[in-house]
C-alpha cells in the first residue's frame, strides 16, 4: 500500500522546497541565532551574567529544546498550513497528482519531508548546546539528555502541530484563517490553558516539568510518556485524517477502510493516553482529599511512640521494613491506636509483644485494635513493604498550590517529595516511611523519639540518616544520639567530604559527577573550617542558641525534590535534623553560580583597588555561599517580595534555622501549635534585617492588621482556612513575645528564654510547664496574656509627634538626645519598637551581592509599652547623630506598621536640655489636626472618586484586566510602570492619614476622572487650602542619581467667589502639604477637586486641608 520510494521522493523534494523557503530560513535563522547567543552568553562565561541553570543536570539541553520548541511550533504552523495551500494554488501539483502514487505516499512523504528539516534544526540546536557545554567545561555533559529532550519534547510537538495544521487546512481551506485558528490555539494552550486540566493541553511541553535529575531522572516518566505519546499518536491520527481528506482521488479502491481503521486506532490510542494521564492525576487528587477527610476526623491519641527499631531493606523501587515500636499508653482506657503510614506501604503483619493484633487500613491510616493490651508500655512490631506514593505527601496542601508549577527560572521541575528508585532513595518524615501516631493535627508537630535503624541496599550505595553511623558488610546502622522529631533516610551514589569543626562533624555528600564546586574552593583546605566556624558563631551569637546536633551534612537531593512551606513551621522537608537536602549542583540558583560570584567578587575588589589572593577570594565566595543558602537566604526573585512574609521566597528552603528550633524544641499543644509558631517567629526575627519600602503597598503585617481589624485570632481561625493564616500567626507571634519582654529587663528575658529552650531540647514539653516557665521569666501571668492574645480584638492606635534632636553635653562627651512624642489613642495597650541608626551610612557593595554575612549591625531596637490613652515622650541618648529612626507599631491600627520618622535638624542650642533615656509620660496631647483645621483624607467620607468609566483604548482594557488580578488585595503599591485605569487605593508611609496612611492613584487621563474632597465648613471665613501630594520619583536610575521630575497637578477649588483652577508643580522642593491658595468659604460644603490630567504618568490624590485664618 505504501511505496517507500514514492514517500522518499516526495519527502526529498518537500525538504528541498522547505529549505529554500525564505520564511523558514529567516525564522529558523533567527531562532538559531538566538540560541547561539543564549548558549554563548548563558552557558559559557563569555557573558557576565551567565545563566545559572547551566549548572542544573540537563539544564542546557532542556533549555535549548524548550526554547526551540516554541519557535518551531510557530514555524511549523506557518509551513504546514502552507502545505495544502500551496497544493491548491499550484496547478503544477496536479501534474504530480496524476502520477501513480497513493495519497498516503504523498501526505506521509510531505510530512517526513518537513520533519526531516526540523530534525536537522533540532540536531543543530543539540550541537550548539553540546559545543558550548564542552567549551564551558563546567559540569559533566548529560549525553543521554541531548537525545531524550528532542525525542520527548520536540518530536511529539512537531508531529502533532504538523498533523493538526494539515488537517485544519483541509477543513478550513483558507490559509489565513487556518493560521489564525492554529496560532490562536497555540496561544490558548500556552497562555491560558497552561497546566490546567491535568496539563492535557500543554502541546509544547511548556508547562510540563521536564527537569531531569542525575540521581532519579524525570521522576514523572509515566506522566510524561502518557502526555507526549498522546500528542504523537494524535498527530499521526491527524496526518491520517489529512490523507482521508486529501482532495485527490484515491489510488485504489478499498484503501479508505484500512486508513479509517488506523485513524481510529491512533485517535483512540492518543485519547486513551490522555485519559490515563488525567486519571492518574485525578486519582492522586482524590487520594489527597480522602486523606484530608480522614485527617480532620482524627482525635487526640492516648498513645505515644517512644522508640523505633527498624530494619529497612531497599530493593529497586520498593522498600520493606520490619519496625519495632516502643509504645507508651498514656491513658488506661485506651484501646485503639491509629498510626499513619504512607498508603503505598502494605502492612503484612502486626504483633504486640509477640501476639498478632488485628488492624484496619484506610488510605494512610491504620487502626489497631488494642483492647487486649493492658500494659502501659509495650512493643508493636510491624512488617510492611511496598512503594511510596508520592501524592500522599503534604496532603493538607490545597490542590491549586499543589498544581502550581515549580519553576526554576524559567524551566520547570517536578514536585516530588520522596524518591525510591533502584539507585536512589530519599525519604523524609513527610513520606511517612515509618509509622507515626495519627493524633489530631499530628502533622503539625511530631513528638521526639529515638531511632535505631539498620539499612541494607544494593552494593556501592551510600546510606545517610541521623545518628552515629556504623557500617558492617553493606549494612548501615544509624542510632540517633538524641530523640528526634523527624527521621529521614537517603540512599544513593555519593562522594563524601568530611571534617570536624567545633566537635561537630561536617559532611558534604554529592553526586560523583557534581564536583564543579571544587575548583572554586581549591585553596581552602585549611581555612574552610575557620570560615565555617566563624559563620556559625556569628549566626549563633545573633540567634542566641547553639547548634543542637553532633553532625551537619549537606546532602545533594534530586532537582525535582520540592518542599512546601507550611504556616506552622519554617522548616521545610529540605531541612532535616543533622542535614540539609540541597538541590543538585545548587539548583540553578543565582547565588549558587559560584563562578559568577567569584567573578563579581573579584571585580568588586579590583574596583576598590584591593589586591586579592585566590584564597581571600574563595573565602569570600564560600561565606556568600553559606550565608545565602543556609544563614540568611534571599533568593533572587522577580516579583514582589514582602517583608516579614512567611513565604519560601523570603525565607529560603535550606536555611539552617529550623535545626535550632523546630527540630529541637516542641511544645505539646492540643490544637494548632500557635505558641510554637509565635516562639519560632520571635527567634527568627532575631536574624532578620528589615528593609525600607518607599513606594507603598502593604507588608504582610499590614495585611494581617486589615484581617484582624474586628476579629480576634481565635475568631479568625474559626472563619478562615488556617493554611492561609501563616502571616497572621507570624505577626501575632512577634507581638506576643514583644509584649512579654516589655515587663522585664529585655536582655535578661532573652537570655532566660534561650536557657529555657536549650534546657528543654529534644523533649516534648507540656504547654502548662512551658507557660509556667514563661511566667517566671516574664514576671507576667503568661496564661492570661496568652488567652488575651488569642481572644482579644482590641487594638492600640499610635500618633507620633514631631521628633526633636539636640546636641547635648554628657559629662565631657558631646552626645545627641532624641525625643519622640507618642500617644496611644486606641482601645488597648500597645507596644512600639524603635530602631535607631546612628552615624553616616557606610557605602556597602552593590545590591544583594555584597557580602552581608558578617552579621554586623549598627542598629539597636528598643521596645516600649504605651498604655491606652497614654501620651509619652521616648528619649534616646546617642553617641552619634541619628541617621534613621524607624518605628514598628506591630498589630496596632497603624498602617503601614513600620514607618520612618523624620528626625529634622539637630538643635545645637546651648541651653541645657533635660536629657534622659527611656519613656516618660507627658501631659501634652498629640493631635492629628488642630481645632482650626479641617482635613479630609482619602479614607474619609468627604472624599469621592470619579472614574472615567469605560476603557477607551485596547491598552486601557488590557491594563484594567491586568489590574483585576490585584483586585483582591485592598491596598496595592504604586505600579509606576503600569498605573491603573481607575483610581486604586495605595498605602505606604509616604502617604497621609491618621492611622492608615493611604491615597488613591490612577493613570493620567483626559480630565474626566477626578477626586473631590468635600469639607463641612462650620464657620464662614478665609481659609488657606492645602493638598497633600507625596513626591515619588521612579525610574531605572539608581537611588540618589534619580532626578526629581516636575509633576503638574490640576486642582480646582470651589469657593464662594467661584471656581479657581490651580496648577501646582510637585517636585523635590514642593511636596507633601502643598499650598493651593487663600479663599473665602461660607458655612456649608466646600469642595476641592483634583483632575486626572497631568504631565506625568499618574496622579496621586491623598488629602486636603482647610486652615482657618
Amino acid at each position: 500500500m505504501i511505496s517507500l520510494f514514492n514517500v522518499k521522493t516526495v519527502a526529498r523534494f518537500e525538504s528541498k522546497t522547505l529549505l529554500r523557503s525564505w520564511f523558514f530560513r529567516i525564522f529558523a535563522g533567527i531562532g538559531l541565532l538566538f540560541l547561539l547567543f543564549f548558549n554563548m552568553f548563558g552557558v559559557t562565561d563569555l557573558g557576565d551574567g551567565g545563566w545559572p541553570g547551566r549548572l542544573l543536570p540537563s539544564g542546557v539541553p532542556y533549555m535549548n529544546i524548550w526554547m526551540l520548541n516554541i519557535a518551531q511550533a510557530i514555524i511549523a504552523v506557518f509551513l504546514s498550513a502552507d502545505f495544502l495551500g500551496r497544493d491548491k494554488k499550484l496547478d503544477t501539483t496536479e501534474a504530480f497528482y496524476v502520477r501513480s502514487m497513493s495519497n498516503t505516499d504523498y501526505v506521509i512523504g510531505k510530512t517526513i519531508g518537513i520533519l526531516k528539516v526540523f530534525v536537522g534544526l533540532n540536531l543543530m540546536v543539540v550541537f550548539l548546546g553540546l559545543l558550548f557545554m564542552l567549551i564551558a567545561n563546567e559540569v559533566s555533559i548529560p549525553w543521554l539528555s541531548f537525545l531524550i529532550y528532542p525525542l520527548l519534547m520536540s518530536l511529539p510537538t512537531l508531529v502533532f502541530i504538523l498533523g493538526l495544521s494539515f488537517f485544519t487546512m483541509t477543513l478550513i481551506r483558507n490559509q489565513a484563517i487556518t493560521f489564525v485558528v492554529l496560532l490562536g490555539f497555540l496561544a490558548l494552550s500556552l497562555f491560558y490553558l497552561q497546566n490546567k486540566w491535568y496539563a492535557l493541553s500543554d502541546i509544547l511541553g511548556f508547562w510540563t516539568p521536564f527537569m531531569r535529575s542525575d540521581f532519579t531522572g524525570f521522576g514523572n516518566e509515566l506522566a510524561l510518556i502518557y502526555q507526549r505519546f498522546a500528542y504523537l499518536l494524535l498527530g499521526v491520527g491527524f496526518i491520517l485524517a489529512t490523507i482521508w481528506r486529501l482532495p485527490r482521488l484515491e489510488q485504489a479502491k478499498g484503501q479508505k477502510p484500512i486508513l479509517g481503521l488506523f485513524l481510529i486506532m491512533f485517535f483512540v490510542g492518543g485519547a486513551s493516553l490522555l485519559f490515563m494521564k488525567a486519571k492518574m492525576d485525578q486519582d492522586n487528587l482524590t487520594l489527597r482529599s480522602e486523606m484530608r477527610t480522614l485527617n480532620t476526623n482524627l482525635k487526640e491519641s492516648s498513645y505515644l511512640i517512644e522508640a523505633y527499631a527498624i530494619k529497612f531493606k531497599h530493593e529497586k523501587d520498593q522498600i520493606s521494613v520490619d519496625a519495632e515500636l516502643g509504645i507508651h499508653a498514656l491513658a488506661d482506657n485506651a484501646n485503639e491506636l491509629v498510626l499513619a503510614l504512607n498508603p503505598g506501604l502494605k502492612i503484612r503483619q502486626a504483633n504486640v509483644n509477640g501476639t498478632r493484633v488485628s488492624y484496619k487500613r484506610d488510605k494512610h491510616l491504620a487502626y489497631f485494635d488494642l483492647k487486649g493490651v493492658n500494659a502501659s508500655r509495650f512493643n508493636l512490631s510491624l512488617n510492611y513493604e511496598g512503594e511510596i506514593i508520592d501524592a500522599a505527601l503534604f496532603p493538607e496542601i490545597a490542590d491549586e498550590v499543589l498544581l502550581d508549577e515549580n519553576r526554576i527560572d524559567p524551566l520547570l521541575a517536578n514536585k516530588q517529595g520522596s524518591f525510591v528508585t533502584d539507585k536512589y532513595v530519599l525519604l523524609t518524615r513527610e513520606a511517612n516511611w515509618y509509622p507515626v501516631v495519627a493524633s489530631k493535627l499530628y502533622w503539625t508537630s511530631y513528638p521526639f523519639t529515638t531511632m535505631d535503624i539498620e539499612v541494607s541496599t544494593a552494593n556501592d550505595l551510600e546510606v545517610i540518616s541521623q545518628g552515629s553511623r556504623d557500617v558492617n558488610e553493606n549494612v548501615f546502622r544509624y542510632i540517633s544520639n538524641e530523640p528526634l522529631n523527624a527521621h529521614s533516610i537517603v540512599i544513593g551514589e555519593f562522594e563524601r567530604l568530611t571534617t570536624n569543626i567545633d566537635s561537630i562533624e561536617f559532611n558534604l555528600y554529592y553526586h560523583p559527577s557534581h564536583d564543579y564546586f571544587k575548583e572554586h574552593f581549591s585553596e581552602l583546605s585549611d581555612t574552610a573550617s575557620v570560615v565555617i566556624k566563624s559563620v556559625k558563631d556569628d549566626f549563633e551569637r545573633k540567634l542566641g542558641l547553639k547548634y543542637p546536633f553532633q553532625r551537619f551534612s549537606i546532602v545533594e537531593a534530586p532537582i525535582n525534590m520540592y518542599s512546601y512551606l507550611r504556616n506552622w513551621t519554617l522548616a521545610t522537608e529540605n531541612i532535616m535534623p543533622e542535614m540539609v537536602l540541597f538541590p543538585e549542583n545548587g539548583g540553578g540558583d543565582w547565588q549558587n553560580d559560584l563562578s559568577r560570584i567569584t567573578r563579581r567578587t573579584k571585580r568588586r575588589k579590583e574596583d576598590q583597588n584591593e589586591a586579592v589572593s585566590d584564597k581571600e577570594l574563595q573565602t569570600d565566595v564560600i561565606k556568600n555561599f553559606l550565608g545565602d543558602n543556609f544563614i540568611q537566604p534571599r533568593s533572587f526573585f522577580w516579583g514582589r517580595q514582602r517583608e516579614g512574609e512567611r513565604s519560601v521566597e523570603n525565607w529560603g528552603r535550606y536555611q539552617i534555622f529550623p535545626s535550632y528550633f523546630s527540630y529541637s524544641n516542641s511544645i505539646v499543644e492540643e490544637n494548632y501549635p500557635l505558641l510554637t509558631i509565635a516562639l519560632e517567629n520571635y527567634y527568627h526575627q532575631r536574624l532578620s534585617e528589615t528593609r525600607r519600602r518607599g513606594i507603598g503597598g502593604l507588608s504582610a503585617n499590614d495585611e494581617v492588621i486589615l484581617k484582624l481589624r474586628d476579629k480576634s485570632l481565635v475568631e479568625l481561625i474559626d472563619e478562615e482556612d488556617v493554611n492561609m493564616l501563616g502571616n497572621v500567626f507570624a505577626s501575632k507571634g512577634s507581638q506576643l513575645f514583644s509584649g512579654l519582654k516589655i515587663n522585664t529587663n529585655q536582655s535578661n528575658f532573652n537570655v532566660e528564654l534561650d536557657t529555657l529552650l536549650t534546657r528543654s531540647r529534644f523533649s516534648n514539653i507540656a504547654l502548662d510547664n512551658f507557660s509556667t516557665s514563661l511566667s517566671e521569666i516574664s514576671n507576667l501571668d503568661f496564661e492570661k496574656v496568652y488567652n488575651n492574645w488569642l481572644n482579644e480584638q482590641y487594638k492600640p492606635a499610635f500618633l507620633f509627634g514631631e521628633v526633636s534632636v539636640w546636641e547635648v553635653k554628657d559629662g565631657n562627651r558631646v552626645r545627641f538626645f532624641m525625643k519622640v512624642p507618642v500617644s496611644n489613642s486606641g482601645d488597648a495597650d500597645g507596644i512600639i519598637a524603635f530602631t535607631v541608626r546612628e552615624g553616616q551610612q557606610r557605602r556597602g557593595g552593590r545590591g544583594r551581592f555584597r557580602s552581608r554575612n558578617d552579621m554586623e549591625d549598627d542598629a539597636n531596637e528598643q521596645s516600649f509599652q504605651i498604655k491606652k490613652g497614654e501620651t509619652a515622650e521616648i528619649g534616646f541618648l546617642l553617641d552619634d547623630e541619628p541617621r534613621e529612626l524607624k518605628v514598628n507599631t506591630f498589630l496596632a491600627r497603624n498602617i503601614p506598621s513600620t514607618q520612618q520618622l523624620s528626625t529634622g535638624d539637630i538643635i545645637k542650642d546651648k541651653r541645657k536640655v533635660d536629657f534622659y533615656e527611656g519613656k516618660r509620660l507627658s501631659t501634652k496631647t498629640i493631635k492629628y489636626k488642630e481645632p482650626y483645621e479641617i482635613i479630609v483624607d482619602n479614607e474619609d467620607e468627604g472624599c469621592e472618586i470619579i472614574n472615567t468609566g469605560e476603557s477607551k483604548t485596547i491598552k486601557d482594557w488590557w491594563l484594567s484586566r491586568q489590574n483585576e488580578d490585584d483586585e483582591n488585595d485592598t491596598y496595592g503599591m504604586i505600579r509606576f510602570w503600569s498605573p491603573p485605569v481607575k483610581w486604586k487605593p495605595v498605602a505606604g508611609e509616604s502617604f497621609f492619614g491618621e492611622y492608615l496612611k493611604s491615597a488613591y492613584y490612577k493613570r493620567k487621563g483626559s480630565g474626566t476622572g477626578s477626586i473631590t474632597w468635600t469639607a463641612d465648613i462650620t464657620e464662614t471665613g478665609n481659609y488657606e487650602v492645602y493638598a497633600y501630594v507625596p513626591d515619588f520619583n521612579f525610574g531605572w536610575g539608581r537611588g540618589r542619581d534619580r532626578k526629581s521630575v516636575d509633576k503638574d497637578y490640576e486642582f480646582t477649588v470651589h469657593h464662594d467667589d467661584g471656581d479657581e483652577a490651580i496648577t501646582v508643580t510637585i517636585n523635590k522642593e514642593n511636596n507633601q502639604w502643598v499650598y493651593l491658595g487663600d479663599f473665602y468659604f461660607s458655612e456649608g460644603k466646600a469642595k476641592v477637586q483634583l483632575s486626572d490630567m497631568t504631565n506625568v504618568e499618574y496622579v496621586i490624590g491623598d488629602a486636603v486641608k482647610w486652615v482657618k485664618k
Binding site: F5, N6, T9, V10, R12, F13, K16, T17, R20, S21, R86, K89, L90, D91, T92, E94, A95, F96, Y97, V98, R99, S100, M101, S102, R248, L249, E250, Q251, A252, K253
Partner: protein, 302 residues
C-alpha cells in the same frame, strides 16, 4: 492503446452540467478536443487523468475501468494542466527529476539521463539550473510538456497547451507533439485554437456545452462545411448588413469596401463565391449553425 469513454456525465455541485452523455473512442495517435471555452474540455481531461470522478458513465483504458484501476492508469499518464505557471521552489531539472521519480524511474542515473534528454528535446537544457518559476511563459510550457513526457507515458494529456504562446513557440510545441505521435501513444490535446488540431491531429471531437457535436477526422469535419463557405466583396454599407446576417471569418479592407469570407447555410440573395473550407471555417460553421440549433445538427451528424 485505446481509450473508451462511455456515457460520461459530470454535474458539478452547483448543478452545472459540464459533460452530458459523452461517448468517445480514442485510439493511438493524436486526438484533438476542440470546443469553445466552457465546453467541458478541461472537465473531460481531468476525468481522463483521474483528477476527477465522473458523476455518471465510465472511462476504459485498454478495456480497464479507469475508476477501478487508477494505480495502473496513472502509471501510463503524463499530464500537462491548463494553467501551468506556479511552481514550488525547484530548479528546472529538479522539477523534472521529481516528475521522473514519481513516474517510477527508480534508477538515479537513468532518471538523470532522461531528464537531460527531455530538457534537450524541449530546448531547456541551458536553463536546467534556473528556478522553474523564473522561466518565461513559453519555457514553462515546454517544461510542462517535458514533465508530461517523462517516463515514457502511454497516454499524454495536454490541456490547452498553446494558449498565450507566440507563433514560434507554438510551432515548436506542435512539432514535439507530432514527433511523439509517431510512437504507439495516445495524445489527447484540448484546445480552442483550431490551428493546433488541423496541423497535427488524426482524430478529433468537437465539444460544446458538455456534449459531443462531432467526432471523426479533421477532414470529415471540414467536409461537413462544403458549400457553406463563401467569399465576396462588399461596400461599407453592405458590410454592416452582412456582418449582422452571417458570421464573418475574415474581412480584408480594400478600395470601396471589404473582401469578406463568411459561412452561411443559405445565401439569401447575396452574391458570393463558394470556397474550399478550412478547419477554421468548419469550426465557425459548426458553432454558428449546428451547435446553436440542435435539431439541425442532429440531422447533419452521421
Amino acid at each position: 492503446m485505446k481509450i473508451e469513454i462511455k456515457d460520461l456525465s459530470q454535474v458539478y455541485k452547483n448543478d452545472f452540467r459540464a459533460l452530458s452523455h459523452v461517448d468517445l473512442e480514442i485510439n493511438s495517435g493524436m486526438f484533438g478536443l476542440l470546443g469553445p471555452n466552457g465546453a467541458g474540455k478541461s472537465t473531460l481531461m481531468r476525468i481522463l487523468v483521474t483528477l476527477l470522478n465522473p458523476t455518471h458513465g465510465d472511462v476504459f483504458v485498454n478495456g480497464m475501468k479507469l475508476s477501478d484501476n487508477r494505480a495502473e492508469v496513472r502509471s501510463y499518464l503524463g499530464y500537462l494542466p491548463q494553467d501551468f505557471r506556479f511552481f514550488s521552489k525547484l530548479k528546472t531539472w529538479e522539477f523534472l527529476d521529481y516528475a521522473a521519480s514519481l513516474a517510477g524511474i527508480r534508477n538515479k542515473k537513468q532518471r538523470l539521463e532522461q531528464v537531460d534528454d527531455l530538457l534537450e528535446q524541449v530546448g531547456l537544457f541551458d536553463f536546467r539550473n534556473r528556478f522553474a518559476n523564473k522561466l518565461s511563459g513559453g519555457m514553462k510550457r515546454r517544461l510542462g510538456i517535458a514533465q508530461a513526457l517523462i517516463g515514457d507515458p502511454k497516454i499524454v494529456v495536454v490541456d490547452e497547451p498553446t494558449t498565450g504562446l507566440d507563433p514560434e513557440e507554438r510551432i515548436r510545441f506542435r512539432n514535439i507533439l507530432s514527433n511523439l505521435s509517431q510512437r504507439e501513444v495516445i495524445i489527447v490535446l484540448s484546445t480552442h485554437i483550431v490551428g493546433d488540431i488541423s496541423s497535427t491531429c488524426s482524430q478529433m471531437a468537437l465539444l460544446n456545452g458538455g456534449e459531443v457535436h462531432f467526432k471523426g477526422s479533421p477532414e470529415q469535419f471540414i467536409k461537413q462545411t462544403d458549400g457553406h463557405v463563401f467569399k465576396t466583396n462588399v461596400t461599407y454599407e453592405e458590410m454592416k448588413l452582412i456582418s449582422e446576417a452571417y458570421p464573418i471569418i475574415t474581412s480584408v479592407p480594400e478600395a470601396g469596401g471589404y473582401e469578406v469570407e463568411f459561412v452561411a447555410n443559405e445565401l439569401n440573395g447575396w452574391k458570393a463565391d463558394t470556397i474550399t473550407p478550412s478547419l477554421e471555417h468548419a469550426y465557425v460553421y459548426f458553432m454558428e449553425y449546428i451547435a446553436n440549433q440542435k435539431q439541425v445538427s442532429n440531422d447533419i451528424l452521421i
